[in-house]
Symmetry: C2
């Protein structure tokens, strides 16, 4: 068992915000009050960038009332970053660590942040700098390996399920084709959660397309025509990361068609969110191929609302996000060098979650990057829907959803002669 080292700690947030990432942050702050060997807790503004810029705030002396409010606020209260530390960047990080006697580094984020944590971890090892690196999972994409699910996912899934409950009613009122583009580059977890909106047999989403199943436009349009024949309307859930049968992102194909290569970030990912181009492309394809026969065709891209909408969060997700922060601090006392706090589902008749410290490499193995995707058993044979068994996985993470009211189909008495 490793010995608790005396020194200071830093916590930072990275990547896209979520509805509950601040719960994890407040979990770290709360738990750290219990440990006297950690003298100061520095909050790094905008992740690793705040470390190199020495842009810190003191998190041990924040008023209690504000901590509760911060925990309930979506976004990243410390600010986030998408910076990917290279050799030179790491050098500056360790300069800052040495100067401030940092011995504990808590990094809240997804794959990219787990990778950044690994880089920092291995530099510490090489330089024989005694540092505990603890990665705290956060991603609405739900794609971290070694986790049953990730903090942030349940709340995004809840937003999507609720949005589809409303949108299905909207589409029922004014029938037509409605396409909704959802977040998810490589994994269809967010999109798959839309099936929770189905309460009645004819409720949408009637079709669901995820990155795990190739999407061909002709078949996509045929699928929609089939649903319209049956129900006179069609609501479709589509991941922003859908690909063709060669594995090429449709978003990339559309950009190329428009003469551009698409914007990429520091981790080499093409920009998928914050644009309506996939939605418009698919709507145009439906209009073009099905024409007037199909009625109204509309497409929405839910965009950033999915990850930072105030008051829409899952209670379970908020609780687990807090737990992950608390457990990270607790594990850091014993951990040799560090690790990632993984969320597990415990074998039980009712839903129960637990945590475990796993090696950093287990969460987001680099070269080539690996991540969790939807289990094949949830994909239907035609690749245009999600099996109902996915509900068992996702429902406990999302919580109870609003019930929809509808009139009984009571016939009016015939007119008097």
């Amino acid at each position: 068992m490793a010995k608790a080292i005396t020194g200071n700690a830093i916590v930072g947030q990275a990547g896209g915000p979520t509805a509950v990432i601040n719960q994890t942050l407040v979990g770290v702050i709360e738990e750290l009050q219990e440990y006297s060997h950690i003298r100061h807790l520095l909050g790094a503004r905008h992740g690793v960038r705040g470390i190199v810029n020495e842009d810190f705030i003191d998190l041990k002396r924040q008023p209690r009332s504000m901590l509760d409010l911060v925990a309930a606020t979506p976004g990243s209260a410390l600010g986030a970053t998408r910076d990917r530390p290279d050799q030179e960047y790491c050098h500056r990080i360790f300069e800052s660590f040495r100067k401030h006697d940092i011995r504990y580094f808590f990094y809240i984020g997804g794959n990219d942040s787990a990778e950044a944590a690994q880089i920092i971890h291995s530099v510490a090892k090489n330089e024989k700098y005694d540092l505990r690196v603890i990665h705290l999972p956060k991603t609405i994409d739900n794609d971290l390996l070694a986790n049953d699910h990730c903090p942030g996912y349940g709340s995004a899934a809840r937003f999507v399920a609720m949005a589809f409950i409303g949108d299905n009613q909207d589409n029922r009122a004014l029938p037509g084709v409605k396409l909704n583009i959802l977040m998810g580059r490589d994994a269809g977890f967010i999109t798959a959660a839309s099936i929770l909106a189905r309460q009645r047999e004819d409720d949408g989403p009637h079709l669901v397309y995820v990155p795990e199943s190739p999407v061909l436009i002709d078949r996509f349009v045929d699928d929609i025509a089939g649903v319209c024949n049956k129900y006179g309307r069609c609501v479709v859930a589509i991941s922003e990361g859908i690909r063709d049968d060669g594995g090429v992102l449709w978003m990339q194909k559309i950009r190329k068609g428009q003469g551009g290569a698409g914007e990429t970030d520091n981790f080499g990912h093409i920009q998928l969110s914050g644009t309506g181009s996939l939605a418009d492309f698919l709507a145009d394809a439906v209009k073009e191929k099905l024409g007037e026969t199909i009625g109204r065709v509309r497409a929405d891209t839910y965009g950033y609302l999915q990850r930072a909408f105030p008051n829409i969060y899952s209670d379970v997700d908020a609780w687990e996000a807090r737990l992950v922060g608390q457990m990270g601090v607790s594990y850091s006392v014993d951990a040799e060098r560090g690790g990632s706090v993984a969320l597990l589902r415990l074998p039980s008749t009712t839903y129960t979650a637990g945590t475990e410290l796993v090696p950093l490499e287990a969460v987001a193995p680099p070269n080539p990057p690996k991540f969790k995707t939807l289990d094949k058993k949830y994909l239907t044979a035609k690749g245009n829907n999600i099996d109902d068994s996915f509900r068992e996985y996702v429902r406990p993470l999302v919580g109870e959803l609003p019930k929809v009211g509808w009139f009984e189909q009571i016939a009016v008495p015939p007119p008097e002669a």
Copy 2:
């Protein structure tokens, strides 16, 4: 005073759904139970279309428990329509009215439905058919004349204010330019409500563009550059109905640029919602003119989520929507031929609303169509923001909003030497 006529009643819903349109419907159903001279209440499926198709359900014998659930459900429980009745259509409506001895017609909708109600009203007059036509206002656009505000608006405004609270936190975490396109063809009421998200001095939306003020792209980009200089980020609220200095819709100009004329509905309106093209056009303009200096540029179109999101509604709006339905039935007993139930704000130190029956023509005068727009006093001189005084108008309609938490900027102690 007109005499209550014995016969049956029909209620229908038209136009885009809202979060509270079913409150109005349930208000009609509830109140009608009190009046014995109205024998049956027929619910017309999909508005006037259900009347000509005799597609009815009996609304007097619905279970009480389901009525409450329907009232709380977004969308239009009877189904809606955008059909505009012409001479021939009206002829079929009256055939159906005569057959079913309809003497009361309650039509829940916005401008277009008020116009449809007027047409039916005047045909009844010409044909000397004794009919009370009552229009019950509903529109998230809030653009009906003779009303202080319209049922549906407060809830859409609440959704938008909440969305901007979250999006402002998101943008604060990962700074850049964020453009959000909101509903509103001719009136900027929905977009203006985004200013309720401002809790701190540097909160977004930093810029607000509405149909009432002409938008020039060069100036728009300059405005954004100015905000970015000041805050390092910029959140912008933009109505889908923004126009250039010649009064031409930007959406129309974009479509023409893409070689199309744009889809129009039965009332001659070009399709603005259900597409991300305005958002993408504006984001591209910002990227092109400001380039790398400005950082991330993202654009979301909130789309249909604004009008039918479950559980996000204003309590005041829900209550008033119910009241409007109840009062419509009450007025129908006395009204000579009919009218529209207008919502008024009563002179009082605390917010108080009341209703009044106004002539149908007063709500949506045709030829040319007239509607309410934002009062000039709420538009800033530069046409790129909404004056803070608008809060007084909108806050009571929206209700209390979630508070945002943030850390105190407590500096960390200097490192020990």
